[in-house]
Subunit: 192 residues, 2 copies
């Protein structure tokens, strides 16, 4: 048994996606995921607390960190929503773009499984809180920070919905900018 | 035993809020809720499937119906987001405003209980789908309908967060309009 397994997290993630798709989430065990990935259960539990985490653990922490880092790194005076878009785009490039092919299958598995939908919701709430905190650090007040973070999440969700479509080839970065632009159009056509 | 109990649904809802606050959601039984409301368990189950439903059954269906009805009733040519704001305001007036006092306690109970948060999330998803369907009926295309519905939900959440604060006395109708206006400001200050 090798003492170091290259890309164990990625292999476990991909094996889980395959098995959840083939035989369903509820029917899949951690032992099967480890076996499919050519790793031990022990290695699985070195990286994830349970089979639910394997769909989220790889990306959600990292995604949040990149968004927070990039929002903080924008020059003083950058409009808050612009900073949020920049953060989401950077995290798209660094964290999500390489997962593009499994992302649509991952989406189907989550939508079909209540306990995964709940985890997804918790992830969204955590990302909203992270963005709001990063904006408050930049001097935005609490209400505006929360609303701007909410817009950020709406942009992220809208863009991701397109991004996971097999026919959609543009990078997430571009779809995020497009979602913000559509949002402006929708708001602009509503007479005050 | 009376054959007709006036406002049974409201009494059960208020009794549940009291008991969930006093002794916690998990520790409260349907029998206790019925007893506190001065009704039988049988009456409880005539109205709700379980104790989780008692926090949602009273309002969520009705709220959705009023939003859909009012979005549909807007004159042709009303900008979509304006129609959504109108629908949310009408539903605020008709359904939510009278629940204002228990609303803040209800919020705390939901936030503290994962299975209620999940139900809340399902409720939000259903409201989003209802609004999007009402907009498509008005001729909006699928993507714009979804995005506009998403903005509607963001406005609803932002306004409700304020509305449940004990110090906030303005009606939900006004807070909804304010949330839309803040949203425009946030988007307007972000250089494209």
């Amino acid at each position: 048994m090798p003492r170091w397994e290259p890309n164990a997290v990625g292999r476990l993630h991909d094996a889980a996606i395959e098995l959840f798709t083939e035989q369903g989430y509820d029917q899949t065990t951690v032992a099967q995921i480890a076996e499919r990935a050519g790793l031990t259960e022990r290695t699985f539990f070195n990286h994830f607390a349970n089979k639910r985490d394997v769909l989220f653990g790889r990306t959600s922490e990292l995604h949040k960190q990149v968004v927070a880092r990039e929002v903080a790194a924008c020059p003083a005076g950058t409009p808050p929503l612009q900073a949020v878009l920049h953060g989401l785009q950077a995290a798209g490039d660094e964290v999500l773009e390489e997962l593009r092919i499994p992302a649509s299958r991952r989406r189907e598995i989550i939508d079909a499984t209540p306990e995964l939908r709940e985890r997804e919701e918790a992830k969204r709430a955590a990302l909203t809180a992270t963005i709001a905190a990063a904006l408050r650090e930049r001097g935005l007040d609490g209400d505006a920070a929360l609303l701007t973070a909410g817009i950020g999440l709406l942009i992220q969700q809208t863009a991701e919905q397109r991004w996971v479509q097999p026919s959609e080839k543009r990078p997430l970065r571009e779809l995020l900018a497009e979602a913000l632009s559509s949002l402006r159009t929708v708001l602009g056509t509503a007479a005050g």
